[in-house]
């Protein structure tokens, strides 16, 4: 009983400013500022223009975070996206080397991604008993396998015609195009998830799939759409990846799925479904991007940066749980 009354006192609405600071997004913004101050102190080359110059390489992964957030809100997971990026980058390179016009190359990339995503969605909606983890594990191996077969024994391909990719790698003033695209897509995805009927249905499915089904939500249709969009965005990521790497090999996109999931989870999107929003994910993504740029400037090895991201990820999920447990233990005493 004591616990119950305690909880109701806790739920008294607080002032909106206080709520904003103590929400997860508020904490993330504080971490974001702290990371930027830390990087500026750590590396003398760290400033806005160098950040904007070095950002595009890492920004391609932020694309993946957006649909991944939808999938996590559904309470599911897709670990095949890295392989989809690899496959569509490979096909893009081949089409580009056949001297196709740039628009065809881009469309091919998006199409390959969409097709891969649709395969995932099709299997998952036809055989709903299957856990997404296993299906996307299998398709992860298959998509990368197809890319390996396509690449042949050499295992890598470089592009001959760079004009189009140089163009999309360009910038307005100092701001690269890709940053604009990331912001626009983030706003679109955030509005759809947060404000539209579709988004509310996604939350409904993530919270309780059966209830959502009985209240007339087309669960399978929505899952199919989300997995397909995940594929399309992977294709987009592949195209922007090519605009900085100008080639593909069998390890292209290795671990991208993990980075995308890490960004989303760090941003407060629960992997058990029904919780979180895009804003948190985007702030978390930029924290990771800034950390990579800043530490990368001082030749900190990529593995060490991954170590920091790993610790951040575990801490971000574990600490609130531990604090909650301690609070409950104190209260029951």
């Amino acid at each position: 009983m004591a616990g119950k009354s305690g909880r109701s006192i806790n739920n008294v609405p607080e002032s909106s400013i206080k709520r904003m600071i103590f929400s997860w997004e508020g904490i993330l913004i504080l971490i974001f500022i702290a990371v930027n101050i830390f990087c500026a102190m750590f590396s003398e080359f760290y400033n806005v223009s160098s950040l904007l110059r070095q950002m595009p390489v890492y920004l391609a992964e932020v694309f993946l975070m957006l649909p991944m957030a939808y999938i996590l809100v559904l309470g599911e997971i897709d670990i095949s996206v890295g392989s989809i990026v690899c496959l569509s980058a490979t096909v893009c390179c081949i089409v580009c080397n056949m001297n196709a016009p740039f628009i065809v190359v881009v469309l091919t990339g998006l199409l390959v991604g969409t097709a891969c995503g649709a395969v995932n969605g099709f299997i998952l909606t036809k055989f709903t008993e299957l856990p997404p983890m296993i299906v996307t594990l299998a398709t992860q191996i298959i998509f990368r396998g197809i890319a390996e077969i396509t690449l042949g024994s050499g295992g890598s391909i470089t592009m001959s015609n760079l004009d189009g990719f140089n163009a999309i790698g360009g910038k307005v003033g100092q701001v690269p195009y890709i940053l604009f695209l990331v912001v626009i897509l983030a706003v679109v995805f955030a509005i759809i998830l947060g404000k539209s009927t579709f988004g509310r249905r996604v939350y409904a499915i993530g919270t309780n799939r059966l209830t959502a089904y009985y209240s007339g939500v087309h669960v399978q249709k929505i899952r199919m759409i989300i997995y397909t969009v995940m594929g399309t965005v992977s294709g987009l990521c592949a195209i922007f990846l090519l605009s900085s790497s100008f080639g593909a090999n069998t390890t292209t996109g290795n671990g991208f799925e993990m980075d995308a999931i890490a960004m989303a989870v760090f941003g407060g999107i629960s992997s058990t479904g029904g919780k979180g929003n895009i804003a948190g994910g985007v702030i978390a993504a930029f924290i990771i991007v800034c950390l990579r740029v800043g530490l990368g400037q001082q030749n900190v090895h990529a593995q060490v940066i991954l170590l920091i991201i790993g610790v951040l990820l575990i801490a971000a999920v574990a600490l609130p749980n531990i604090i909650g447990q301690v609070r409950r233990a104190v209260k029951t005493k």
């Binding site: 997971i77 299997i123 055989f127 008993e129 299957l130 856990p131 983890m133 296993i134 299906v135 594990l137 299998a138 398709t139 992860q140 191996i141 298959i142 998509f143 990368r144 396998g145 197809i146 390996e148 077969i149 042949g152 024994s153 290795n254 993990m258 999931i261 890490a262 989870v265 992997s271 058990t272 090895h301 593995q303 060490v304 991954l306 170590l307 991201i309 790993g310 610790v311 990820l313 575990i314 999920v317 574990a318 749980n321 531990i322 447990q325």
Partner: protein
């Protein structure tokens, strides 16, 4: 009536089905290339897949309680790299000590993962993903910035994988011992049965007096232990230690378990299934280069298709069985 019971039997005993698949695979490959079915080639196959086979046991335990562990190959790299560097810098020389150190490191890693999952309630996929980064980076730091411990540096340790005991390679003995132990452990000990109980219904297990949190901790410690052992085996079989060894290999281990009929949602799966699953994967990997037309490039695609076919088949058979069960009730 006859047909129904046949299908029921088929779905009921997954192991029989898997054994049949393995047998067919053996026969087909032997017809295409007789050099496959020789003692030496089979022993080689077992030796080269010892790491995956041993770790499939740990993954079985983890998946039985409804978890998953994708940090295992990072644990393997950390423990393998640690003993590699210790041997290289002549800190230790004896093989048993190296094995013990690798296993101890593995247990520590497993303990960390288990504590985060069981005590802080972090979803297993998220926690192990974080630890996958952390352990891999620690392995890299241990290696002093990406150094290798080559065959020359390993000294007597690499001989472990070439010495034979009673005509069978020591590495294969380790695999046999592990499987024998786990066969007994999962079937005839209280703790083994508790793991199954927690997996099939955690709340029922909780109210019947099983400490669910400790069982969850235990399975990740077992997984860590076997990863440490796998690290030592990996270093001795391939006679080299590098920080990026077995990158992405956790998918093979998970695939072996899934093919072996271990359910992702927990509670279902057996040691025999894990053995057959990893043997089927090993046979395919070994047989593919022997078959003309397919070369090594096709390996991953075929592996993925097989995983997909197996899980989809499973669902279809289950649906048929359910439908038949319903039919029986109507009559």
């Amino acid at each position: 009536m006859e047909k129904k019971s046949f299908i029921k039997k088929l779905t009921g005993s997954r192991e029989a089905l898997l054994a049949a698949v393995l047998l067919v695979l053996f026969i087909v490959v032997t017809i295409i290339n007789p050099s496959f079915l020789t003692v030496k080639s089979l022993m080689d196959m077992l030796k080269n897949n010892a790491v995956t086979m041993v770790m499939a046991l740990g993954m079985l335990c983890v998946m039985l309680v409804g978890g998953i562990d994708i940090s295992i190959m990072s644990t393997l790299a950390l423990s393998g790299m640690s003993i590699g560097m210790l041997l290289k810098n002549d800190v230790i020389a004896s093989t048993p000590l190296a094995f013990l150190i690798a296993i101890a490191i593995g247990i520590c890693c497993g303990l960390a993962v288990g504590l985060v999952i069981s005590r802080a309630d972090v979803p297993p996929i998220i926690a192990t993903m974080g630890f996958m980064y952390v352990f891999r980076a620690m392995g890299y730091l241990v290696s002093n910035g990406g150094q290798w411990a080559g065959a020359a540096a390993l000294g007597d340790f690499k001989k472990f994988a070439t010495t034979k005991f009673l005509g069978i390679n020591c590495v294969i003995w380790v695999v046999i011992l592990c499987y024998a132990f786990f066969f007994w452990f999962m079937k005839w000990t209280r703790t083994g049965r508790m793991i199954y109980a927690v997996g099939s219904n955690p709340s029922a297990a909780q109210v019947s007096g099983i400490n669910v949190k400790n069982i969850k901790l235990l399975v990740y410690v077992i997984m860590g232990l076997l990863s440490g052992l796998g690290g030592a085996l990996q270093v001795s079989v391939y006679a080299s230690a590098m920080p990026d060894m077995q990158y992405g290999g956790e998918m093979d281990v998970i695939a072996a378990c899934v093919i072996g009929g271990v359910s992702m949602s927990g509670g279902r799966g057996s040691v025999l299934g894990a053995l057959l699953g990893s043997l089927i994967l090993a046979t395919i990997a070994k047989a593919l280069p022997l078959i003309p037309f397919f070369d090594q490039l096709w390996l991953n695609t075929i592996k993925g298709v097989i995983i997909l076919v197996v899980v989809v088949m499973n669902v279809v058979l289950q649906r048929i069985a359910d439908k038949n069960a319903l039919k029986g009730r109507e009559m």
